[in-house]
Subunit: 302 residues, 2 copies
């Protein structure tokens, strides 16, 4: 008969005994003969071919329940090609994702080693939902003026909301409509989020104020800051650094940096007060996946 015990077959094929037992249980590879008294499994040596086929397909990344029909049913060439193509795409995605992850790890490491006092910026990627806001926009000359101006601008919105008996309990936020990290003449907008899309709305009073929907954003880099509001701009700068360092790009449109004031009952923009702020920076989601993958690979330090 020339049958091999499971241990012998296992060594020959260099797979574990428990794997062979598992494949037996799954019906992937039944032993040629099982002793009815002892339950001992015996394999014929040419079953190595089938086992190899299983291992080779598994090695391509197929799950075992996909391997089964590939071996047994003689699946058509077209369908196999389809499965391989799907597998190819999955792997590309996987590699790309891991490459980005690697960039992030390296970025952290770099951050850790280069700075005397390492800061930990917990950046989380999210989507942004569509938001209805009442905003109030204005050019603010210097950073010192932000405090005063924005309180005034929030006041205008609140007054208008109260006057028309509208819900003013929504989140406060600030949008910085600037292209760069500049230090004067901030094109800023403060806004209050409406809890529901407006049905009918009274017209807005004058110039700076507007009512609009902020479109949904496919991807944003976000981080939560807790501390003195004066320093929030440093964190915003760190966030931008993170984005650049990790190979993301900023979109041309809707790129305003947003600050969401998370404290409730809190009056935003008292620069010396403690605050809880979520910073949101819209970034491009990667339609360009593989390209940027290669770029990031090429620019690795050696």
């Amino acid at each position: 008969m020339d049958l091999l015990q499971i241990g012998t077959f296992s060594k020959l094929a260099q797979v574990s005994v428990s794997t062979l037992r598992f494949y037996d249980a799954q019906g992937l590879l039944k032993p040629e003969y099982i002793d009815p008294m002892t339950g001992y499994r015996y394999y014929r040596i040419n079953q190595l071919a089938r086992l190899n086929r299983i291992l080779a397909l598994k090695d391509l990344g197929f799950a075992l329940d996909r391997v089964q029909p590939l071996i047994d049913d003689e699946i058509g060439v077209d369908q196999l090609a389809e499965m391989l193509t799907a597998q190819e795409q999955d792997l590309e995605k996987q590699i790309f994702a891991d490459q980005q992850r690697l960039d992030r790890v390296r970025s952290r490491l770099h951050q850790l080693q280069s700075q005397s006092q390492p800061t930990f910026l917990d950046v989380v990627l999210k989507q942004g939902a569509e938001l209805w806001i009442v905003g109030n926009r204005m050019i603010v000359p210097t950073a010192h003026d932000i405090d005063f101006f924005s309180r005034h601008m929030f006041g205008e919105i609140e007054q208008w909301l109260y006057k028309h008996k509208l819900d003013a309990s929504g989140a406060r936020m600030t949008l910085y409509h600037t292209d760069d990290y500049i230090e004067r003449d901030y094109d800023m907008e403060v806004a209050i989020v409406l809890p529901y899309p407006p049905a009918v709305m009274p017209p807005l009073p004058h110039g700076g104020m507007r009512l609009e929907a902020l479109p949904a954003l496919p991807l944003m880099a976000t981080t939560v800051y807790e501390g003195v509001l004066r320093d929030v701009n440093k964190v915003a700068y760190d966030l931008l650094q993170w984005v650049v360092h990790n190979g993301y790009t900023l979109p041309q449109k809707n790129m305003a940096l947003r600050e969401i004031f998370l404290n409730d009952r809190y009056t935003p923009h008292r620069m010396d007060a403690l605050g809880l702020v979520e910073l949101q920076l819209p970034i491009n989601s990667n339609a360009h996946s593989l390209v940027s993958h290669f770029e990031s690979v090429d620019s690795l330090p050696t």
Copy 2:
């Protein structure tokens, strides 16, 4: 109090409710308050910072039980750097492995589409254990002579083993000591594997025969062929193609292609007989991992 229900907090942070419940159970993120009557969980909004920290660390690839001490214990900077470096290496390995996997998938696809009659070569990577053999080596002028010569050479070994009452039941194999895929003057060696390392051995009779240990091999590409022996060289050629196509390189030393005859009681080298053969081609394991990764990335079709 300004506490959020789990659903609200979940939407704000864009993580699922079940994730929050899971983090609670793990002790990663306890709600600020739990109603003792209803069991309702309530979160304070600034717990978003902690949640973000968890997500950011998880996103770097850390398992949750590594995340815990990172957040709670204020692990030292040195230790964090160590963990990140380990993480970096893991990711590099992962990416490299997936890249190779991708190469294999593409190779299969290519094979599938380019050939009119697609062949499926189930290649499995293995290690090779050290083997003690009695070999018999000789230059064989043409392929037609292999049959006759090797039978003669096996005969010599067997006679010698019988004469000295040694175990001749070990596997038969052939080694092709050629650098290239050539078609004449094969430098071939046939051998019988000894079941155990020899203690004391009588001297070998004459020229071609030798007794030696084949060193262990770190990596071989192997495949099992079942069919007419005449065609085994085609499979050997396919195996070589596979190796080249998947970016592996051949070692300078110990590079002989091996045929292991798996049928027992079978007389090897009757070209017209059916046989079961494992082909083994030693290849380099990748100390050069990242380099070859970049090469394979660069040479991708676009």
